[in-house]
Amino acid sequence: MSALAWVAVGLLGGAAAAARFLVDTAIAARTGHPFPHGILAVNICGALALGLVAGVALEGEALVIVAGGCIGSFTTFSTWILDSHRLAQAGHAHLVWLNLGLSLLAGFAAVAVGHWLGGVL
């Protein structure tokens, strides 16, 4: 990878992290519920976008910058799992399973739909 591609990965990664925070905060402020709707929305949107990028068969540095730098940075695994742990600690056992199961199923479906859409385009 060229130095410019690494710079793009870093700059877009930072922007994607800030975007994740803004979307999550805006959604959490609207729902006011312990279930982490914000991170769910971020992760499913990111899965759809990554499926799309894989479907249009982007390659080389462009793929690394968009898929790894931007979309990969926007979505998060650690916050998703920590939120699940916090739901369990707060006694919302059923919400833990909902958060893990719904994210996984919807995330998989989102990648599949994005991949199909990308192939059609």
Binding site: L12, G13, G72, T76, F77, S78, L82, S103, A112
Partner: protein, 133 residues
Amino acid sequence: MRLTRFDFRRLAAIYAGGVLGALARVGLAEAVPHGPDGWPWATFLVNMAGALLLGYFFARLRDHPEDSLAHPFLTTGICGTLTTFSTMQLELFQMVDGGYLGLAAAYVGLTLATGYVFVRVGIFLERRPEEAA
């Protein structure tokens, strides 16, 4: 959404953490490539490391009000960006698409179970010295 001056500083801290997290994750992915029939070590390792670190930072900073910029820098910035949900889902999709169902089942099961344990280990590691004192 109206942003105050503090929010902008917090966003800048998240941005800085995001730059580092993204470079580390993409750097590892470039160093350790894999196909749909192989274990995605790069994604697995960053997700586990991020879960462990986030558990630790969460426990460490829990009792502090969120007025320090270290909190958004370390948690939402570094840990949030080092780890990824979308790449894991795409890898799962490619495993299923390629017919590697056993690998897909092992990958999703181990990622979730180990990630959950690592968050708890991170929290435990931070709390241990206090409880011993």
